[in-house]
């Protein structure tokens, strides 16, 4: 009974109650700098969803069929990052060749994503929690959406903030972090939402 529902609860949890950014602090660097503008936030957010949803199950396959059988789990850090970097590189080249508008709106963010700790983090969590293939896909997708929601919300708030007076020392990262703190608190309120018995 529980096993069938795990993907569902993981999906909702990774967006709301255990948001990859607001609860697990992953991906904060680009979050802080990119969330200044809504347009770039959208682009980066969608790119993150795409990369997370694809590289997590990909890494699952690599882990399950390449690393485990040979007892090489300790190399997963290197291997995962190579997989992510290679995948992002290939995707960027493909987008650039086949769709110029898509490249302009999405492709330029891809190199930035390789060093986004959230992408690697999600794969590492997936290994620790021993998810199945499908659950790892759901986890990647959910985490990406969670990151997307967080950055969009932050961008929206920061747009409004342009007209507000902020203490000079807090300008930029300072006030963004405080807002992030409040967002994290708000998201914690979601924890009563799902009742999976």
């Amino acid at each position: 009974m529980h096993d069938a529902l795990l993907p569902l609860s993981v999906f909702f949890a990774s967006i709301f109650t255990s948001n990859i950014l607001l609860t697990n602090y992953l991906g904060t660097c680009s979050f802080l700098s990119v969330s200044k503008e809504m347009k770039t936030s959208l682009g980066l957010g969608v790119a993150v969803i795409f990369v997370m949803a694809t590289t997590t199950p990909l890494n699952w396959l690599v882990y399950e069929y390449l690393l485990l059988p040979f007892g090489l789990e300790y190399l997963r850090f290197i291997v995962f990052i190579i997989v992510i970097a290679a995948f992002v590189q290939l995707t960027e080249m493909a987008i650039e060749r086949y769709s110029e508008p898509l490249y302009q709106s999405l492709g330029i963010f891809l190199p930035l994503i390789t060093v986004n700790c959230a992408i690697l983090g999600v794969s590492l969590f997936m290994v620790i929690r021993e998810y199945s293939f499908f659950t790892s896909f759901v986890f990647g997708l959910g985490s990406g959406i969670g990151w997307f929601v967080a950055i969009i919300a932050m961008a929206g708030i920061r747009v409004k903030l342009k007209n507000a007076k902020v203490v000079p020392a807090l300008e930029g990262p300072g006030i963004t972090l405080i807002i992030a703190g409040f967002m994290a608190m708000a998201f914690m309120g979601f924890s009563g939402m799902i009742a999976v018995s």
Partner: protein
């Protein structure tokens, strides 16, 4: 002359060019564990080790790395040192290893490590790069230890696991929860920018 350069390289990341306050780099991997002082110490030591040695290694090779694969090589070297940290932790401090979980692996994507390598190690000599890496690691360490100090003390009334505040203290649970990390870092940035940075710009 050379000694002055070493001194300057060492002091900059500790104050003026502090990776966390000024560049807001690398918070991801460690902020999550700043709710316990002990875990933070281990993590920051890991970052220190990785940054220093990666900078040193890359600097050794800097004239031979083909520019196309520069980032891949850097990542490979950084990942290797992180894995070493992970393996050593697993073997000698298993309880700590379990508590830190995937966050050790995330040192690889920690922007500070890559940042120093790109900004410094590629253009400077190995020994100097080692110093820069060490200093950046230290600058990172004291900020995060400060955050952890506040979070653990206010959130659990203890430090390093030892009870400090008496039973009169009601735990500020928010401190050990995720929002607490964001708030404490923000306030710390505020304080530092108001005091030290202002002095620096007047000097």
């Amino acid at each position: 002359m050379a000694k002055n350069k070493v001194r300057k390289t060492f002091l900059e990341p500790l104050g003026k060019n502090n990776p966390v306050f000024v560049q807001i780099l690398g918070i991801c991997s460690t902020l999550a564990v700043t709710n316990k002082l002990q875990n933070t110490m281990v993590m920051t030591l890991g970052v220190l080790f990785t940054t220093a040695l990666s900078s040193w290694t890359i600097s050794l090779m800097r004239n031979h790395i083909p520019s196309r694969i520069r980032m891949m090589v850097e990542t490979m070297v950084i990942a290797t040192f992180v894995i070493i940290v992970d393996i050593v932790l697993k073997a000698f401090y298993p309880e700590m290893w379990k508590q830190l979980g995937p966050y050790v692996g995330l040192i690889i994507t920690n922007c500070i490590v890559m940042g120093r390598v790109e900004a410094f190690a590629l253009q400077n000599k190995p020994m100097l790069s080692l110093v820069d890496g060490l200093a950046s690691g230290l600058g990172y360490a004291y900020v995060l230890l400060a955050i952890a100090f506040v979070r653990e003390l206010l959130g659990t009334g203890s430090l390093w696991g030892y009870r400090i505040l008496g039973s009169w203290w009601t735990n500020w649970s928010i401190m050990i929860m995720p929002p607490g990390g964001f708030f404490v870092l923000a306030i710390l940035i505020w304080i530092i920018r108001e005091t030290i940075m202002k002095e620096a710009s007047h000097a």
